[in-house]
Amino acid sequence: MWHRIFTLMVKEFLALWRDPKSRAIIIGPPIFQMLIFSFAATQEVKNVNIAVQNRDWGTSSRDLIALFEGSPNFSKIEFLDDESQIPQAIDSRRALMVLSIQSDFSRRLAARETADVQMLLDGRRSNAAQIVAGYATEIVGRFNASLLQNERAPSSETIVVGRIWFNPNQLTTWNTVPSLVAILTTSMGLLVTALSVARERELGTFEQLLVSPLGPLEIIVGKTAPAFLIGLVQATNMVLIGVFLFRVPFLGSVWLLYVSMAVYLFSIIGVGLFISSLAKTQQQAILGAFVFMVPAMSLSGFASPIENMPDWLQTMTLANPVRYYIVIVKGLFLKNAPAEVIFANVWPMGLIALVTLSSAAWLFRHRME
């Protein structure tokens, strides 16, 4: 029996590997995506254009603007002559933020009064705008601090001491690379398994398999193997790229990584086989895989934290294997997460794998007719 299954595995693998086109499709895109998206998928805001409309002729306003000019987050500062130009600058997306400084700015500061600065932000990009507002607040804070220093004000203030763990320099690649390792393994594993049965159905070779002595369970095991192997190799490639090209530290245990990777791949393959046993044509399999993949990735905690979702949706994400795997990969890369933390995330994936694989096997048996 094992020889039969092994024969099927070899065949499945060759079917993917022999055709140079499909070989290219299996290897190329994930690496390409890893390279592009590690850079692109950043929540930072850099190189932003802003504008200033300064009606003040004093030195204080110039000092403040100089601080903005010195910030690495802003690439270009446009000076507006007139208030009427502000809407135009924002509407046309030339500036994400406009600082509007009143004509009495320097005078009020000199008189130790509060001086207001208006900050107008483009709400169409509200996320970036909020981050930019944060930068601006921080710059103004520094400006205030420098004013205080000049005044030699008393310093007996309660202090907030901040520390950043796991990623002291706040590098975004340290965040995106581990997440991408998790996400990019998903799409290929899913598509390869989802198409495997649908393709044989369309080409008419599936009947040939069904009349052979292979049982449904053996067919499932055979179909699982190549996707599993490809997933492992791909994930390894991406971990290596992450560590050596992007210089993201890998602090955790390699053993734990591979154990959880295996369980994760089984859960994804289970979903793929499930889709495959339902689809009549390749088109249906492809579109079915998409309908699973897009929500699974969007609701994985990669693009936005799960804690922000409404409760009922958070409950639904419990069935999403990607969410657990992202926590595991990040934990192993950056946090040297111990085994109990990893296993707390592995068992739900194992449960998902068990459910999807067994229902795929059941469907398989029942749709063989």
Binding site: S22, I25, Q33, I36, A40, A41, T42, E44, K46, N47, N49, L109, R112, E113, T114, A115, D116, Q118, L121, D122, G123, R124, R125, S126, A128, Q130, G134, A136, T137, V140, L148, E151, A153, P154, S156, T158, V160, V161, G162, R163, I164, W165, Q170, L171, W174, P178, L191, Q283, Q284, I286, F290, V294, S298, P305, E307, N308, M309, P310, V327, V341
Partner: protein, 385 residues
């Protein structure tokens, strides 16, 4: 033989016949409903409810080593903050594991001598530890903690009339942010218009990438080619039905966005029609081009995924800021139709008909569309070679 039609009428009749055929095929395949009907709603739903970039209810651990009246009021301040879900503990040792497991994103530590030192008017440091594995969240957590802390200090100082040094000894610069177009800073307001662009990309390329390949795989193209049908009729026969499908999906998405998710729509319908038609034609041409060149459904779907869907998702400014990307990638985005469409949709929904945005975007889309169309026409042959 009866009277022949005029050549023009015959031409239109051929186009109409092909369009009807395609329409029927779309209607008969359940999976086209899946992609044109279910998928848009699913995406809107996800971005309407699920994905929000505004931080709310971040899990935060508060370590109070010794409970005092002060620490109790601080705890209340954190609990009242909309940004945090506070977990209270009394030992630091417990929280490290939680930070590693990712069940809390930040820790605030009040040392045992905190109350004593505030009592004495000394600087009483609180310690904030944040999980840097997501730098963006880390930064925001830090800022919000400071905000809560500052408010608490103000409150205390009012209560005690100066037992703690006031936070500001002199008046200084006060900065007031005002968000135009989106005063409440709802991330839905910019995510949903962006997801409409994703929906249109999916319908525009993924379905069309499969249709010509399918005719080749099933052998029906041979019989079509042997009729008087020309290249233009064939391509129009494919473009028109999917154009209608795409525009219908868009209308559904826009209505859902406005009615269900209460995203304002401040632009005009004609402007929306112009921009999205140009975008859709570019995407349809790309899809058909992929299909014509690959002639294989598996390869076509992969190429469509790689050249249209993923870039629209990651490189269009939909979620990730284009400005923050390295220069080579930023340059690449200028060739992506989705980039122009996302910014146009955000403008149309939230700002209105701002032609200084829409004009250049439409022009760029028109150029890209005409390049794809030209390539498509050139690669479409009316023979099997």
């Amino acid at each position: 033989m009866s009277a022949q039609e005029s050549p023009t009428r015959a031409w239109f009749r051929r186009v109409a016949g092909l369009v009807r055929k395609e329409r029927l095929q779309i209607r008969r395949d359940a999976s086209s409903y899946l992609i044109a009907g279910v998928m848009p709603l699913l995406l809107l739903f996800i971005y309407g409810y699920g994905v929000t970039l505004d931080l709310r209810r971040i899990p935060l651990a508060l370590v109070i080593e010794r409970s005092t009246p002060e620490s109790a009021t601080l705890l209340t301040s954190f609990r009242n903050s909309p940004y945090f879900d506070v977990v209270l503990t009394h030992h630091r040792a417990n929280v490290e594991d939680r930070l590693i497991a990712g069940t809390v994103k930040g820790v605030v530590v009040l040392a045992a001598d905190f109350s004593d030192r505030t009592e004495r008017g000394e600087a009483a440091p609180i310690q904030v530890i944040v999980d840097g594995s997501d730098p963006n969240t880390a930064g925001l957590v830090f800022n919000y903690v400071q905000g809560v802390w500052a408010n608490w200090l103000d409150q205390i100082s009012i209560e005690r009339r100066g037992t703690i040094a006031p936070r500001r000894t002199i008046s200084a610069v006060v900065i007031e942010p005002r968000y135009w177009f989106n005063p409440d800073v709802r991330s839905q307001n910019f995510l949903i218009p962006g997801s409409v662009a994703i929906i249109m990309t999916l319908i525009g390329t993924l379905l069309t990438a499969l249709v010509v390949a399918r005719e080749w795989e099933r052998g029906t193209i041979e019989a079509l080619m042997a009729t008087p049908m020309g290249r233009a009729e064939f391509l129009l026969g494919k473009l028109i039905p999917y154009y209608v499908l795409g525009m219908t999906a868009m209308a559904i998405s826009v209505v859902t966005a406005v009615q269900v998710f209460h995203v304002p729509f401040r632009g005009s319908i004609p402007a929306l029609l112009i921009v999205s038609s140009t975008f859709l034609i570019a995407m349809l041409s790309l899809g058909l081009l992929i299909s014509t060149l690959t002639r294989n459904q598996f390869a076509a779907s992969q190429v469509a995924l790689l050249t249209a869907f993923l870039p629209a998702f990651e490189l269009s400014g939909f979620i990730f800021e284009i400005d923050a990307m390295p220069l080579p990638i930023r340059t690449l985005t200028y060739f992506l139709p989705a980039r122009y469409f996302v910014s146009s949709l955000q403008t149309l929904f939230l700002a209105g008909d701002v032609w200084s945005v829409l004009g250049p975007a439409t022009l760029a889309l028109a150029i890209i569309a005409s390049v794809f169309l030209t390539l498509l026409v050139r690669s479409t042959r009316m023979r099997l070679e």
